[in-house]
């Protein structure tokens, strides 16, 4: 199977997944007691007839499948509709939030690489020595720390107690220095678990790689140890890191739900939680779909990168 065929196959497989995701989201939303009209009616006490009239107005009384079809048709035209709750365009709302989560996610991912790769190398090279054990315990500690707790403690110490960073996002663009400074704590909070994961993974795959014959050959050829490690071993071990990138994205989104809550960061995580709270069907649908598309695409990308790096995958 050529890479092209493999890519085609993987891409085609993503389609039913996305359809499934949207269908499940849709039916889920309808299983949840209450709908947007109940939220809109709020604690006003609105006659059931009046509620029904409103439902009809918003098309909420149609059978689910019809609502779903209507929604799919709209989405294919990139129309996400209008939120019955806020009356605002759902696409615009997501466009406002998505960059926030992306920024945080990318920052956390970079951080996890920046910590995980050196730590993994150090551990693998010092196999079995104290440096290795320490790194391992450090990584386990990173995995075992509840991120919401870490966020709270960091925020309290560096934000409230020492006053080094703001506790709410500054009024500045995403690319500004102020914002970058603010993002330090959320990034650490979000990136810890991923960094630990990468450390462990890289350490394991490097340790395995170091035992392979070609390393001995390279050393025998008289290559400098640094060249052997960085050019040969690390490069081969990084494929393993690539493979978890998709997995990590899901971890980051999960983390974002919590971290955004702690740091008042207006991203997709908060948006989804709010949307579920408010039974804002179009918003739930669109935001969950966006997240799922991101996860599916990330996995697709990872698979393709992996297949390009390791042709055996294609034949499996």
């Amino acid at each position: 199977m050529s890479l092209g065929t493999y890519a085609l196959r993987r891409t085609l497989l993503a389609v039913p997944v996305l359809v499934g995701v949207s269908a499940i989201t849709f039916s889920f939303v309808h299983l949840v007691p209450g709908d947007a009209i109940d939220v809109l009616a709020g604690f006003q006490g609105v006659d059931p007839e009046a509620r029904d009239a409103l439902r009809e107005e918003y098309g909420l009384d149609d059978p689910i499948w019809r609502q779903y079809l209507a929604w799919v048709t709209d989405v294919l035209a990139l129309e996400f509709g209008e939120s019955p709750i806020t009356g605002r365009d759902v696409g615009a709302t997501i466009a406002e939030r998505l960059p926030r989560t992306l920024a945080l996610g990318v920052a956390a991912w970079l951080l996890s690489l920046a910590i995980g790769i050196p730590a993994g190398i150090v551990a693998a090279l010092n196999h079995g020595r104290p440096a290795d054990e320490l790194t391992r315990l450090g990584a386990l500690a990173g995995i075992a720390t509840p991120n919401f707790w870490l966020g709270l403690v960091l925020l309290f110490i560096f934000g409230v107690h020492l006053g080094w960073v703001r506790v709410t996002p500054p009024d500045a663009g995403l690319a500004s220095l102020e914002m970058l400074w603010f993002m330090v704590l959320p990034t650490i909070t979000l990136g810890t678990a991923s960094a630990a994961l990468i450390t462990r993974l890289l350490r394991a795959s490097m340790a395995r790689e170091l035992q392979k014959a070609y390393v001995r050959t390279a050393r025998a050829k008289g290559l400098r140890e640094r060249t052997v490690v960085l050019k040969h071993v690390l490069r081969n071990s990084l494929t393993a890191v690539v493979t978890v990138a998709g997995l990590q994205l899901a971890i980051l989104v999960d983390g974002a739900v919590v971290v955004e809550q702690v740091f008042a960061w207006p991203g997709m995580g908060q948006l989804v939680v709010d949307a579920v709270d408010q039974r804002d069907v179009p918003l739930i649908q669109a935001s969950v779909l966006v997240i799922a598309v991101a996860v599916v695409l990330a996995n697709l990308l990872v698979d393709l990168v992996y297949a390009a790096l390791d042709p055996r995958v294609r034949y499996r």
Partner: protein
């Protein structure tokens, strides 16, 4: 040699000295690892020639030799004992009350209000302080293990019950069944866990069993994927063909070869997942979507103590947080130890720790 003529004929020169002899080849074989020597010694002293040890004894022997894993197991055991014996456990059904566990290690009823002043810091009477309603934090943290530990154990066990059979079916049967199951897995995997859990809690409501349900619905996926991948790769393994060549029945192959080899990573994954699940349940609790806020579940206690940090009541967040941290760390140590112990290939001490952490992660992506 010099007197020989050049020739195009082969085989005039033969290398000698490799004639067969049992003794000879044994002596020549200097490649016995030292551990084998040791083992030979052991066998001699025990006087048992080639007695087959049970697989589980071997695993336990290997696990025992890993100090950090033993430490982790000890912490898990202690926390478990504390959780069980923290406070009497009774079940009331149909008017009968059955005391399952009469002991109380905790100094106070974890649910009782005003056993001390409100929001008091640690003291002799209340080593972990008290919360807003004067409840004893120490007793609550002890008893809180019941929620976290039982959620972890239950959610993982149930997820195994769902995931392993489905994954096994997918791997064995293949074809459309496989496609159908794995597409469902793919679809559910596209939802980040917390998003899915939020949705599930929104449908089912809060509470112990609903949290468990949410964790199971999101948890079985990785097992299904894992076991399917393992079965596919084990099925292709040459030792399975070898067993066929020996005339082993399908049942025997499954029982002796496929299952033991496929199940090891599942055990490791499940152990590590207990930690993940406990953290996830705590995160739900923190978001206010977990157990009811009066429960002493660690995550819920943390959520309750959110503003307490600002008000200077640090003890409200620190102790449940540490308990959570200690448990998850310990279970990860155990998982790592199991990973090594279940892998006889790693017997020779030196490369033992090399594979730590590799398994859980590379299994995740198998058979995407």
């Amino acid at each position: 040699m010099t007197d020989r003529e050049p020739t195009a004929r082969r085989g005039r020169l033969r290398v000698e000295g490799f004639e067969s002899s049992t003794e000879r080849s044994l002596e020549d074989d200097t490649a016995w690892p030292r551990s084998v020597e040791r083992d030979r010694e052991q066998s001699r002293t025990e006087g048992s020639v080639g007695r087959s040890r049970s697989r589980w004894r071997d695993i336990w022997r290997r696990f025992r030799s890993d100090r950090t894993a033993l430490l982790g197991a000890a912490i898990v055991a202690i926390l478990t004992v504390l959780a069980v014996f923290a406070w009497p456990l009774e079940v009331t059904t149909l008017g009968y009350r059955i005391t399952l566990q009469p002991f109380a290690l905790a100094p106070y009823d974890p649910g009782e209000l005003y056993v001390g002043p409100t929001n008091a810091g640690p003291s002799l009477a209340h080593p972990f302080g008290t919360d807003w309603a004067g409840r004893d934090q120490f007793s609550r943290v002890l008893a809180g293990g019941r929620y976290s530990l039982s959620i972890g154990a239950l959610a993982v066990a149930l997820a195994l019950c769902v995931g392993v059979p489905l994954g096994a079916i997918a791997g064995y049967v293949g074809g459309w069944v496989d496609e159908a199951i794995m597409r469902v897995v793919d679809i559910l995997f596209a939802f980040p866990f917390l998003v899915l859990a939020i949705a599930i809690v929104a449908v089912l409501g809060q509470g112990y069993w609903n949290v468990v349900a949410a964790l199971v619905i999101t948890g079985w996926l990785s097992y299904a994927r894992l076991i399917r991948g393992e079965i596919l790769s084990v099925r292709e393994a040459e030792y399975v063909t070898a067993a066929k060549a020996l005339g082993a029945s399908d049942r025997r192959i499954v029982a002796r070869h496929v299952v033991p080899n496929a199940v090891a990573p599942v055990i490791v994954q499940a152990t590590l997942n207990v930690g993940t699940v406990v953290l996830a349940a705590a995160a739900l609790g923190f978001l206010g979507l977990g157990l009811s806020p009066d429960s002493a579940e660690w995550g819920t206690m943390l959520a309750d103590g959110r503003s307490s940090l600002l008000q200077g009541h640090w003890h409200i967040t620190v102790f449940p947080g540490l308990a959570l941290f200690a448990f998850v760390l310990a279970i990860n140590l155990v998982g790592d130890g199991l990973n090594d112990a279940l892998e006889p290939r790693l017997e020779d001490g030196e490369s033992r720790t090399a594979h730590r952490g590799s398994r859980t992660h590379d299994v995740e992506r198998r058979d995407r």
